[in-house]
């Protein structure tokens, strides 16, 4: 399963949980079970430090790229 789709589903699950607090656990558990059963463990949502490191790497590559 595409990690981006998993992230989106988790995002929707969280939104649903804002309306019905008990929804998030069942939705995310169902998603995880589905993904694991299909051989695709859910991709971890990156921490803020991982996101920062990714941006820094991208910027460094851009700066070092020939014009």
């Amino acid at each position: 399963m595409n990690p981006e789709i998993i992230r989106k589903v988790v995002e929707y699950a969280r939104l649903a949980a804002a309306i019905n607090p008990s929804a998030i656990d069942s939705l995310t558990d169902a998603l995880k079970r589905w993904a694991i059963n299909n051989g695709h463990p859910p991709d971890k949502i990156p921490s803020i430090r991982e996101a920062v490191a990714k941006v820094d790497l991208e910027v460094d590559q851009e700066l070092d790229a020939p014009l």
């Binding site: 921490s47 910027v59 700066l63």
Partner: protein, 137 residues
């Protein structure tokens, strides 16, 4: 910003409406923590987008004005240093969120601690917003 306002409203409702009642407070704190999780993530995404845009701006302006790569790198290093407190605050907020979740799972009747931590969490959101506002270009 709208999400933060909602979060504060939920938090205020929680703190004002539940004095003396222990049972109903747990699902409400769970709701606050879930709102908080969304808000922290959204603040993080916004901050990352601004952080990235600012660095690309330094590169673009530097190239347009003929600056050396070393000079551009030095300016980018300053941008990164400037944003560092934002990442620390977001990490602290995530730790607080995790602490509340842990108490909800292990000691849900510890209402005083839950309220204290939830209050800190709301304050930490305000601090993140303030910090982003301070550092953004």
């Amino acid at each position: 910003m709208k999400k933060l306002t909602t979060l504060i409203m939920v938090g205020s409702l929680l703190f004002s409406g539940c004095a003396g009642k222990q049972e109903p407070i747990v699902p409400q704190i769970q709701l606050v923590v879930k709102h908080a999780s969304l808000t922290i993530d959204n603040l993080g995404y916004t901050a990352i987008a601004l952080y990235k845009a600012e660095q690309y701006l330094v590169i673009t302006e530097g190239r347009q004005t003929g600056k050396s790569v070393d000079d551009i790198k030095s300016e980018i290093a300053k941008v990164r240093e400037k944003w560092e407190p934002v990442w620390s605050l977001i990490e602290d907020a995530k730790i607080l969120e995790g602490s509340i979740q842990m108490i909800l799972n292990t000691d849900p009747n510890n209402v005083a601690e839950l309220i204290r931590l939830s209050d800190s969490l709301l304050k930490s959101h305000q601090a993140i917003l303030k910090q982003i506002d301070m550092v953004k270009k």
